[in-house]
Symmetry: C2
Subunit: 219 residues, 2 copies
């Protein structure tokens, strides 16, 4: 996405900090002290500042002049917005994929889906989860639209921390696979509207699963 052959310190710091945020090491609301980060990574403040400014644009941190940077903490409404946005973008990708995928891409998508059906039948949540990521990525790529695909990928990264342990829910595996089936059929047949609706349904259900999960946690 943003990788360069010979990443600079600022870029490496940006990915390091982003990783820290995404895997939960850097908690939302945490103050990102420039000097502290610099010492912690053994560099000067300059690349740290550049990394922070870069991360600001992706929404991972919030900077206010003269008041420093903090890990942007999402209110429940903002998390909800992220999930809604995610669903819409996934659906859009599916729509575009139905219109734009090449025959080769369509065949590969089908093969991928069939392999996942087998995994779902075997009941292997871990393998299925990995394959699932690749499945959705294939659809992003199949949209043949760099801005949309990149934004969707970025959203997926951002919502990642909030959607752990989806496939542990009983029966979610086969249900997910059935929904995938609808998506794949629509895409393969070039049914743009159908792909949009099917993906929306699919991701919407995932979101509901999250909400149920969150509700349990809160309660």
């Amino acid at each position: 996405m943003m990788h360069s052959d010979n990443p600079t310190l600022a870029e490496k710091l940006a990915t390091a900090i982003a990783d820290g945020i995404l895997n939960g090491t850097l908690r939302p609301g945490l103050r990102l002290d420039e000097t502290g980060l610099a010492q912690q990574h053994g560099v000067s403040r300059t690349p740290v500042r550049e990394a922070l400014r870069q991360l600001t644009m992706s929404g991972l941190i919030d900077m206010r002049p003269r008041k420093g940077a903090i890990v942007s903490k999402a209110t429940p409404e903002q998390v909800e917005s992220l999930f809604v946005a995610m669903a819409e973008m996934e659906a859009t990708c599916a729509r575009l994929a139905a219109m734009s995928m090449t025959p080769v891409e369509r065949r590969r998508l089908q093969a991928r889906h069939e392999a996942m059906t087998a995994l779902a039948g075997a009941g292997d949540p871990d393998a299925y989860s990995n394959a699932n990521v690749a499945f959705h990525s294939a659809i992003y790529a199949g949209a043949h639209n760099a801005p949309i695909a990149e934004y969707t990928l970025g959203l997926r990264r951002r919502v990642g921390p909030f959607r752990r342990a989806q496939f542990q829910v009983e029966g979610r595996l086969t249900k997910s696979n059935q929904e995938h089936d609808a998506v794949v059929r629509a895409i393969l047949s070039g049914d743009a509207a159908g792909a949009h609706a099917a993906m929306l349904h699919h991701v919407g259900l995932v979101e509901d699963a999250f909400e149920a999960f969150a509700g349990i946690k809160v309660a």
Copy 2:
């Protein structure tokens, strides 16, 4: 979007450079020399570097380590992708707006639309164009989804330089207004799929107008 009460030099530089790119002063492919920009704005290289790194994320410029920054020049395919993405995002906003707009927002949208109908009848392209921007912005806001709305706004800014003089085309004004009518009706009636389709149709036609225009220019 990103404005602060007391903008730093880096932020002011970022907006200044972005303006320069968007209004055509800074041509695509132009090398953005840090020292030059610093002298030109009467500051040191440090805030310039931060501004450039910030702009990198929005896609306006491309930075490669040790090779400096250039105004990102879009190939025709990339411009096409931007327009497609724009259309999809507009349609998504319309879809969400149909589902999420409050009664007040719906009434205001209708009023806005009626005012634009009058402008179209009067044949005032300039006033119509301004109102058009506000009309679409109202729909973004009506989506009630910050990530989607902000991304769509950013896209509109980016495609701006490529879509000048849309409403000069004969008959475009009334046609645009008719399409708006379909969009507004769908949104007001809560018809999500209809709003999506109507907006897609609307923005798709605008894109075609651009392509015709570009074709003429090239030919």
